[in-house]
């Protein structure tokens, strides 16, 4: 095999480096940045193509090249030729160690641009990984094997790229060397792809016939083998495709506030990365969601104040007026602010082994805002291979669906197709803190500013005053058989004797009526608690002291109810009994049935109980009688 030599493409650059390093470096500082993703299966030659790009742009040192030569002979799949795939794929060792490679980022540069390539190898978890890699990409290279044409995978990759909002698509018809550089073959594939692309709303794409292995149309075009091809080479296209800075900058200003910079009493700056638009001192701005307006006084940086800052820059702004503005707010053009809403339709990509639980609270992070959110039962799931809509109750790992999302307070947003920054969000599990999903907002279902609560003439304070008491919700939680109902009843009796207006909501009773449509799955249990929470809240509004006795095993739902009520009105009472003791008592004979497998989803047996971390009151039933427990609770509430 011939010794590898520096690729011709970079020869001029090397000459300049050798002759005039200062001129070269000056040019380095004025490069643009393009992020792209390559989509294809292992067989499509994706690794070979990336390896080829690294090689052609000379990101490969001689020691690596020597190792590559040796590896190519030893384990390569290209006979005596260099197997470029080994450059990026050299992950065999890692695979053997059982290490998953999900998304890897590679870097190369040409004279004009620096490139960051998101590479998502393997078939496993493909949707999750590709969506992750694509989320920061400006362009996607969809690889097709010229011998096979447009396949199911091609459609899937294209759908995902389109879903995530990538505007520039390249259809790279690879392995042209294996079909004798046949123009007809290329044209047929392009024709097939165009029909499919239009059907899912992709209006434009750039088809390029290439051979990653032989190098055709990678750096220059047309190659000697494809005289019929009139378009650009792949690198030329990557270097010249419109990046969209200008389009970003002419939009109205949007800067999500990350951090308030307050080193002393004289300075109060708002730090953030400008998502869209341009800002100058003197510009009128509006802080959303509050709607307060002011003007920009300075754009502060370490290198001195700026006259102007544009989308893509991280800056610190000071405002002329002392108005409320903190992390999560968005500083926007005063005359064109974004909306705020608390209910949306969104596309959701599920990324966790644990499926979506409709109705459960998740943390939702969008730009710099973090709120509690629930996802409703999906409207449908999309089969990413056929684009069919499927009726589903939940979303599992790698599923993509459309669902309504409700947040616990209005958030500032824009439709994802307008703004990735203000339209894309992640969902985080409240217990494990894992990122479980990515979402893209389609539109708001109702604008929060248009939904008004009917103002009631008699306020909750007036209700409470008449009863001469402070309303509260005593929320009992604990295992089945822990003594919740017994103690709750005692507490109510004692309060009643003290002329308090009370009401006891008991788990079993509620399930006979209000919630008789619900079972014991995780989702149903969450809905059970949500409804009870709402009822308890209405009763507290009416001035009552509400006592609830539900197992309520999940921390997230108890926290949800806590948030519905004014500060201090939710009193979590943990009736703490060891499982062994509760099971030994087994008043209703339920543990026995659960152990026998006759009862499914029984808390403590095959469904978890999440203990309160900081309950207002903890009752250790091994240390006191129900009477003593009730006295203690009454003291805390009334005393």
């Amino acid at each position: 095999m011939a010794l590898p030599h520096a690729p011709k493409y970079q020869a001029d650059e090397r000459d300049l480096i050798a002759a005039d390093i200062s001129a070269y470096l000056a040019r380095q500082t004025s490069k643009e940045l393009l992020r792209f993703i390559t989509c294809g299966s292992v067989d499509d030659g994706k690794s070979t193509l990336i390896g080829r790009l690294l090689y052609e742009t000379r990101q490969i040192f001689d020691d690596q090249m020597a190792a590559l030569e040796a590896d190519s002979k030893r384990v390569g799949t290209q006979g005596q030729n260099i197997d470029f795939a080994l450059l990026v794929d050299g992950l065999t060792a890692e695979r053997e160690q059982g290490i998953t490679i999900d998304v890897a980022y590679r870097f190369f540069a040409t004279e004009k641009r620096k490139f960051i390539v998101a590479d998502t190898p393997g078939h496993e978890q493909y949707t999750r990984n590709m969506v992750t890699g694509a989320s920061t990409a400006d362009l996607a290279v969809i690889l097709v094997d010229a011998r096979k044409g447009v396949l199911v995978q091609t459609r899937r990759h294209s759908y995902l790229a389109h879903l995530i909002g990538i505007r520039h698509l390249v259809l790279a018809v690879n392995k042209m060397d294996l079909v004798d550089y046949d123009e007809g073959m290329f044209n047929r594939i392009v024709h097939d792809y165009r029909q499919f692309a239009h059907s899912i709303g992709i209006e434009e794409f750039t088809p390029i016939p290439i051979s990653g292995f032989k190098g055709d149309n990678i750096t220059s075009a047309p190659s000697a083998n494809t005289p019929w091809y009139a378009g650009p080479s792949l690198i030329h296209h990557l270097e010249s495709v419109e990046i969209g800075d200008a389009a970003e900058q002419i939009r109205p200003l949007r800067m999500p506030v990350q951090w308030v910079n307050r080193p002393n009493l004289d300075f109060r700056g708002f730090a953030g990365l400008i998502a869209e638009g341009t800002v100058k001192p003197g510009d009128a701005v509006r802080v959303v969601p509050s709607g307060k307006t002011s003007t920009v006084s300075r754009i502060v940086t370490l290198d001195g104040d700026l006259d102007e800052a544009v989308a893509g820059q991280s800056v610190t702004l000071t405002l002329a007026d002392e108005i409320d503005c903190s992390r999560g707010d968005v500083i926007a053009a005063a005359d064109a602010p974004p909306e705020a809403a608390d209910q949306f339709e969104a596309a959701i990509v599920w990324m966790s082994d644990e499926p979506l639980i409709p109705g459960r609270g998740y943390w939702l992070k969008l730009a710099t805002q973090t709120v509690s959110a629930t996802v409703h039962e999906p409207k449908y799931e999309v089969n990413v291979n056929t684009m069919e809509h499927l009726a589903v109750k939940t979303l599992g790992l790698n599923a993509i669906g459309v669902a309504e999302v409700t947040t616990d307070r209005p958030i500032v947003f824009e439709a994802y197709e307008r703004s990735r920054t203000l339209g894309g969000f992640i969902l985080v599990d409240k217990l494990t803190n894992a990122t479980v999903a990515a979402g893209m907002i389609h539109f708001s279902l109702r604008r929060a500013q248009n939904v008004h609560w009917q103002a009631l003439e008699i306020s909750r304070e007036q209700h409470a005053r008449l009863k001469n008491q402070k309303p509260a919700v005593l929320w009992f939680t604990g295992l089945s058989g822990s003594g919740k109902s017994t103690i709750a009843n005692l507490v109510e009796k004692k309060l009643h004797r003290m002329n308090r207006h009370t009401f006891l909501l008991d788990g079993d009773n509620v399930r006979h009526a209000l919630n008789k449509d619900l079972g014991f799955t995780e989702a149903d249990r969450i809905e059970n608690i949500r409804r009870v929470g709402e009822v308890a809240k209405l009763m507290a509004d009416a001035g009552l002291i509400v006592i609830t006795a539900f197992i309520s095993p999940f921390r997230a739902e108890r926290e949800m109810v806590r948030k519905m009520l004014p500060e201090g009105e939710f009193v979590e009472v943990h009736i703490d009994t060891p499982l062994s003791l509760a099971e030994a008592r087994d008043v209703k004979g339920l543990y026995k049935k659960a152990r026998a497998g006759e009862l499914k989803n029984f808390t403590g047996i095959d469904s978890p109980y999440e203990e309160p971390e900081r309950p207002e009151i903890r009752i250790d039933t091994t240390a006191m009688t129900p009477e003593e427990a009730a006295d203690l609770i009454v003291d805390k509430v009334v005393g």
Partner: protein, 300 residues
């Protein structure tokens, strides 16, 4: 209308990452290793929080075997207004006199890996900035910008959180922590061109000068102080050398060079024929995948 260059974009991204961390973490810290990447990271942090002082301390996990020039720059940085510099030395390694001459890989394990864990635990830091870049090494290419660690500081590459857009999930349970890599998307060339553009001060060892070295196992090792243990037949010679990466001086290989300006260093680097980490003994310890293994154990 102005177009941003790739350095502008990288700078803005790094600043955004640092601000997200400071806004959401309880007790952040910046790992300061005194090298060129640390210098760039520190410069970006100043930009991110100006005019406020850095809202976190710098932490140097010392091995007592760094180059004299490195200690000089570290102490200069530490003396600046608005900078809190913490230096941590693993007391066990200190008591046992662990050194790279007598103890081989144990030196790195105890001083660096173990020292870092001890320091993070001692101060209760829950987010630590590191200057690692994805272009350095294969196992780095797939690491997240916010890399989650268990309470025992282990990295589990199978349980990495997906990282979408510029939305970073900084939530964690008590005891767990994050490593944050604001320079993830920078390449070595980006670092150098940025150092030039911003006139960032770096340790002079990156530039060529006549220095005392010995040749050992095919590497040029600098004799930086009188603790150096000469082997039979080894001779100290003066040669014009510079370093591509800096660590403990007995573990850092120099390269012969006359490049005494940053421009010339970059010129040599671009025309060079070997990849960056060649001069580092540490990565060779356990052959293929050794960095991966170190990271799982808690090495940065």
């Amino acid at each position: 209308m102005s177009g941003l260059t790739h350095l502008d974009r990288l700078e803005a991204e790094s600043i955004h990452i640092m601000r997200e961390t400071v806004a959401e973490a309880a007790r952040p810290v910046m790992l300061y290793s005194i090298g060129k990447d640390s210098a760039v990271m520190l410069h970006l942090a100043r930009k991110a929080f100006y005019p406020a002082p850095l809202p976190f301390p710098l932490l140097h996990v010392d091995t007592t075997w760094k180059f004299q020039d490195m200690y000089a720059l570290r102490d200069k940085v530490g003396a600046e207004a608005g900078i809190e510099l913490l230096v941590y030395k693993n007391p066990e390694a200190e008591a046992k006199g662990i050194n790279p001459f007598d103890h081989g890989p144990l030196h790195t394990d105890l001083w660096k890996t173990e020292g870092l864990r001890q320091a993070l635990d001692k101060y209760g830091f829950d987010a630590a900035f590191g200057g690692a870049r994805r272009d350095e090494e294969k196992s780095r290419a797939k690491e997240r910008i916010f890399s989650f660690r268990t309470a025992s500081h282990r990295w589990d590459p199978k349980r990495q959180r997906p990282e979408l857009w510029s939305l970073y999930n900084v939530r964690k349970n008590p005891g767990e922590s994050m490593r944050v890599f604001p320079l993830s998307n920078w390449t070595e060339l980006d670092i150098w061109t940025y150092i030039l553009r911003e006139r960032i001060e770096i340790v002079p060892l990156y530039l060529a000068a006549p220095r005392s070295v010995v040749e050992r196992d095919g590497l040029l090792i600098m004799v930086d102080d009188d603790r150096f243990q000469l082997k039979d037949g080894e001779q100290v010679q003066t040669r014009s050398v510079r370093f591509r990466t800096l660590g403990c001086y007995p573990l850092s290989g120099a390269i012969e060079s006359d490049a005494d300006t940053i421009e010339q260093v970059v010129q040599e680097m671009l025309l060079a024929t070997t990849s960056e980490r060649q001069g580092r003994i540490i990565d060779r310890d356990a052959g293929e995948g050794s960095m991966e293994k170190k990271k799982q154990e808690g090495y940065f």
